[in-house]
Symmetry: C2
Subunit: 270 residues, 2 copies
């Protein structure tokens, strides 16, 4: 047994959809979450800046001696994971590989759609990961830059979200995909809208959920040791604490009883 | 005559609407623009972080020995101007006072609406500045957090922008305002949408334009010396240069012939 924590980070709120899934299927685990609310959003940053941010986020989480660090952010996973992986003596995983594997296993017609931030889509990493599993699969990618602000502003089920989602998803529907990867951890909050538009026959892959499942498989396979008992989670952010709690509870779909702690992430910049 | 530059900065693109107006009415002036694209948006940051960012932006512009620095960002003007003003030996102005004065002079029925980012609206600074001119004026403020992402993603004249704007502007219309301050330098790009919704009888005050007029008045009053001749403008940003130019030209409404230069703004943090 290894009671050390699982460190999870994201640009802000999105990664909490991943935390939610870990809490659900691995309730014994102790999670230390860092939401980089002081530097959100990551989706529009350059690769250079994102790598710097990711390194500082990992340096912060390393202070808790985690047994595993999860980059619960589509953009940081697609852009920085490969670069930072070899730089730290800790097990680091992103959201791309687990969802690419599940999508490749799930598609019947060999046509997968991927949606994410502009940076994630431009990186081509999801496509690459799917092709690595099965080179015959056709991948249709579409950047959805308005989804993060819509979610962050609470437009979860509104007419405008449907209109913008229809515009974004049209090419994927036309291409005939039967599986869509929600390649940004914000998107599970508008899963209903996306599902209504693409239709019931299309399988939606929630990248946070796939990460949680992947951790469970790693535990079952003995690659990661399970925690003996749940001692509590911790939540850190890099900007004001006010207003975070309400939004965070919407993403987690549960109350946060622990105090939310503010840190100075600039201190962890190299 | 004082050929030194006018330094102008904003979180990214919005301040260019102010640059556009300065170029139009004061074509001799030499402008050094800094768009903090690496740390955009400012509208959702805490006051503490915003003050730090503003100080670094000013420290960068100070290197060009400006005769005047314009905070062409509603959020930084409302939140940081008072704090930074005394800290530097350079003339610094924001966007609040000029538009508050014009709005107070323009209203006939004594009811002014102010729209801006959540942080600008919560600061109460526009209301304070209007009341300082005329305490009898009633001010109705409304945060419009979706306007910046809509503008940045090119939804300038679309159905969704109309729908969201209708939602935001409804309380101002109900209150019967006859003047609305566009308290964020992004908003002039959706001035048509806003104008269509509030109606022709309502005067819209463009904060960037008011700043340009204020500089012209200061020159006429001898408080700021005019430039003898235009030697050229310079444009700096803090993240990738690609994709900036096209967007910037949309904001400026003209071509940028100068090379756009990238700087490391972190170096200017205290």
């Amino acid at each position: 047994m290894d009671n050390r924590c699982i460190g999870v980070f994201d640009s802000g709120l999105g990664g909490l959809t991943c935390v939610k899934e870990i809490m659900k299927i691995l309730p014994e685990e102790n999670i230390v979450y860092f939401g980089d609310t002081g530097r959100v959003p990551y989706g529009t940053r350059s690769a250079e800046i994102l790598v710097k941010y990711t390194i500082s986020d990992i340096r912060f989480l390393k202070e808790f001696d985690p047994k595993l660090i999860v980059i619960a952010c589509g953009t940081a996973s697609t852009t920085a994971l490969d670069i930072v992986k070899g730089k730290f003596d800790v097990n680091i995983m992103g959201v791309v590989a687990p969802s690419a594997h599940t999508a490749a296993a799930s598609t019947k017609n060999g046509k997968i759609g991927v949606i994410g931030t502009s940076r994630s889509i431009n990186s081509g990493k999801y496509e690459q990961a799917i092709k690595a599993v099965n080179g015959d699969i056709e991948v249709y990618s579409k950047a959805c830059p308005m989804f993060v602000p819509l979610v962050e502003n609470g437009y979860l089920d509104s007419k405008v979200t449907y209109m913008i989602a229809e515009e974004y998803l049209e090419p994927l529907i036309k291409a005939g995909v039967d599986t869509v990867i929600l390649g940004c951890t914000h998107y599970p909050l508008i899963k209903k809208v996306i599902g209504d538009i693409v239709g019931e026959s299309v399988t939606l892959i929630d990248s946070g959920k796939e990460v949680a499942r992947h951790i469970r498989s790693s535990i079952e396979a003995g690659e990661v040791e399970a925690a003996a008992r749940h001692n509590g989670n911790r939540f850190f952010i890099s900007d004001k604490v006010e207003s975070f709690q309400t939004a965070a509870e919407m993403f987690l779909d549960t109350k946060i009883n622990e105090p939310i702690e503010k840190i100075d992430i600039e201190k962890y910049m190299l």
